[in-house]
Amino acid sequence: MAADFAQFFLNSLPDLFNGLGYTLLLTFISITAGFFLGISLALGRVYGNKIVNGFCVGYIELIRGTPLLVQLFIIYFGLPSIGIIFTPIQAALLGLSLNSAAYQAEYLRGAIQSVESGQMSAARSLGMNKLQSIGHVILPQALRISIPAWSNEFIYLLQYSSIAYIIQVAELTAEGKFIAAHTFRYLEVFAMIAVIYLVLTIVSTEIIDRIAKRLSIPGIGAAKQVSLREG
């Protein structure tokens, strides 16, 4: 029994590794692209004029107000009808990035707003312009404050990138489904996959914790922020 499972496990490994590669690709690209877009949206919300702020609010509400799955369907199945065609992996990367950006924007906005207003006054009083004040004073604090929320977002993406299997991306869950359909060993396959996600989650949480500790500065609490995306 054990030997049989070991053999099955080894046979499945290449496919699972393939899938894992896609899962990690989706996660890393989406968290990174989502971060840069999210930070722009957050800055637009806090410091933008009415028009910029309105645009950012509209985007964030639109994304957060609709299911990720529907967003992926629109990108992958919907857009071709107006001539915009993506491969599955492109569609998944785009959808997850755009989606994550909205959530990251909200974490970052909360973090930016939790930096006391006196910090901006002090920066401007030294003669820094607004951009310098944001870059040298506000963001270094806000980014540290948002690490816990960001860590949560990373794990969310790691796990929920599995939704990409619905638009034919051969990520980890999709590979599992493929193996299971051919071997009928559903329980073993999905147990393996669950273990892989679990290990990934534990390892990445640990890594992010270590990064957070290295970046931590006395007095800049990570505890300030709470609003986390529900898994």
Binding site: G118, L126, G127, H136, I220
Partner: protein, 251 residues
């Protein structure tokens, strides 16, 4: 020509008028103290001078340049106006040294080593050479405020605005900060909002008494303390003297 000229400043928040025509001048290296009851607009006045809260009406001139002119590069002007805050507003994510050097590096574009060398000099000047590597959260209130003063000094300002620099401090820490301020007397112009009557009496070249958004009276400490013309001034000085024990601090 005065170094700093504040001319008929008006400022409202919403419909509430806070400053109702405030004018005064300051000379190079002069020390002026502003006193007056809470809510009178003293902080608002300081923030109008460096345009953190632009006035609705009136002008501010520094070295013959009009700060309030929209065409003026306000960031360039602010380099010349130090600001020391009641609640310090040190940059929380930077060490004491970097708090002082960051303005030199990012605003004056001085090379990092030179900027930090200068920052160390300023921190030594305020007695904090041992604290250069500490973050604000690791400093006492008095130390924080001295870093705040060093941060302002490092920019070589023409004038430093102090907004109740000792009000947030435990009584036993006030003396250190006042001593540092006294040591700056005659080296840089200082405009100090404070309730420390000892400091006002012994250090100020002139005292301005503000109430209700206007300057009620101004004069030398001697005139103000012994020979105030306005009844309101006498009353306020009497009350505040009793409250803050003018002989104990800043003397």
């Amino acid at each position: 020509m005065a170094m700093l000229e504040v001319k008929d400043i008006y400022k409202s928040y919403g419909k509430v008028p806070i400053l109702k025509g405030v004018s005064f001048t300051m000379e190079k290296e002069e020390t002026k103290v502003i006193i007056g009851p809470s809510g009178t607009g003293k902080s608002t006045l300081l923030r109008c001078i460096n345009q953190l809260s632009p006035p609705d009406k009136g002008q501010v001139w520094l070295d013959g340049e009009e700060i309030t002119n929209p065409k003026t590069n306000i960031n360039k002007m602010r380099e010349k106006i130090g600001f020391v805050f009641q609640d310090f507003n040190l940059f929380n994510h930077l060490t004491a040294l970097r708090n002082v050097s960051i303005g030199l590096e990012k605003v004056k574009k001085i090379e990092k080593d030179a900027a930090q060398k200068r920052a160390l000099q300023e921190l030594t000047r305020v007695g904090l050479e041992a604290q250069v590597g500490q973050y604000p959260a690791q400093l006492s209130g008095g130390q924080k405020q001295r870093v705040g003063i060093a941060r302002a000094l490092a920019m070589d300002p023409d004038v430093i605005l102090f907004d109740e620099p000792t009000s947030a401090l435990d009584p036993e820490l006030i003396g250190d900060v006042l001593d540092v301020m006294k040591s700056l007397c005659g080296k840089v112009a200082m405009l100090v909002v404070t309730h420390e009557m000892g400091f006002a009496r012994n250090v100020a070249d002139e005292i301005i008494f503000m109430e209700g958004g206007i300057i009620v009276e101004q004069g030398s400490p001697k005139e103000m303390f012994t020979n105030a013309k306005m009844a309101r001034t006498k009353e306020f000085l009497g009350r505040i003297g009793a409250l803050y024990g003018e002989d104990e601090t800043g003397g």
